[in-house]
Subunit: 156 residues, 2 copies
DNA sequence: CTAATGTTTATGGTATATCATGGGAATTTA
DNA sequence: TAAATTCCCATGATATACCATAAACATTAG
């Protein structure tokens, strides 16, 4: 199979007036092993953009084919939404992509974008929204796992 | 899969003004069997940095990859938290990595770092914090000793 | 048992390559 | 033809690779 690739880390980049934004170099070197483009779509659950190599969506599609209809109806609807929304974005020689108005609006991004690694995929956030979301997630995770408490004052 | 590797021992190294620090040679020789880089992230439970080979996170990603979990909220949160924080660190020919400000701050490390082996992964501590933590752990273990039974067949 | 020697490891400094980003030219679309 | 989009080059900032020195360690000879 292909090399291991994981999108990691959180990177802040600028978005210029044309909607151009640099894909973090780490992300690029991952994608380049496969192609020179990524797929982006509006997150179904959050005010952010999701991105991934096309391979991931292919896998999603083939998994849908082989799963039982009985259980997959709801997911079938969701995949329709994703595939209906997804679009390929090629990055140029300097490593930038041009995000569409639709995506930027959904994520409420104007001049700054935060790239957040998610393993096989990544997300693009408005800085303030991401700050809130990260805080929410940390609180949520700590609540669900009382044993995971940080020592007082040790929070990031 | 891969050979089994164990990070062991406790090693103290200096951190220079740029955040550069030598990965202990024992650790390096372990990692080198696979690649020339490791992954580091802020510990969820302690004021320290955790490190491991990328393979460890690979497995986590593989689990998330299955389409059945593609839309799960909890996994969504977890991947954001873990992969959003983790970062790959390549060490150069002299065996050093450059830790980021975010990681150093979380672990309260300024000019000295303590590497603590933890088996499949390792931790990086501020010296004073590690001294306290080690004392705490020892006290804890002694207190709980009567109930420290291994599952049958799970002995080292 | 001690001293000398060679080898690996840690650390400091500097040069180089890479990356993010802005501006503008060329090309396409309406 | 006007507007928008894509492509290409320039630049400053940053991070990485490289070289040199110093310290720790192990080995071997005396």
């Amino acid at each position: 199979m292909s090399k291991t690739f994981l999108f990691m880390d959180t990177v802040v980049n600028k978005v210029d007036s044309k909607g151009r934004v640099s894909l973090p170099s780490d992300y690029r070197s991952i994608v380049k092993e496969l192609s020179t483009e990524i797929v982006c779509y509006r997150s179904l659950t959050s005010p952010c953009i999701e991105g991934c190599p096309e391979e991931l969506l292919e896998k999603l599609a083939s998994d849908m084919e082989s799963s039982l209809d009985f259980f997959s109806q709801e997911q079938d609807d969701l995949t329709n939404l994703i595939f209906g929304d997804a679009k390929r974005f090629a990055f140029d020689s300097t490593g930038r992509i041009v995000l569409t108005e639709k995506l930027l609006k959904h994520a409420e991004i104007t001049d700054t974008a935060v790239f957040v690694g998610k393993g096989r995929k990544f997300q693009i956030w408005n800085p303030e929204n991401w700050a809130k979301e990260e805080a929410r997630i940390r609180a949520e995770v700590l609540k669900k796992r009382p044993s995971l408490k940080l020592p007082a004052g040790a929070q990031a």
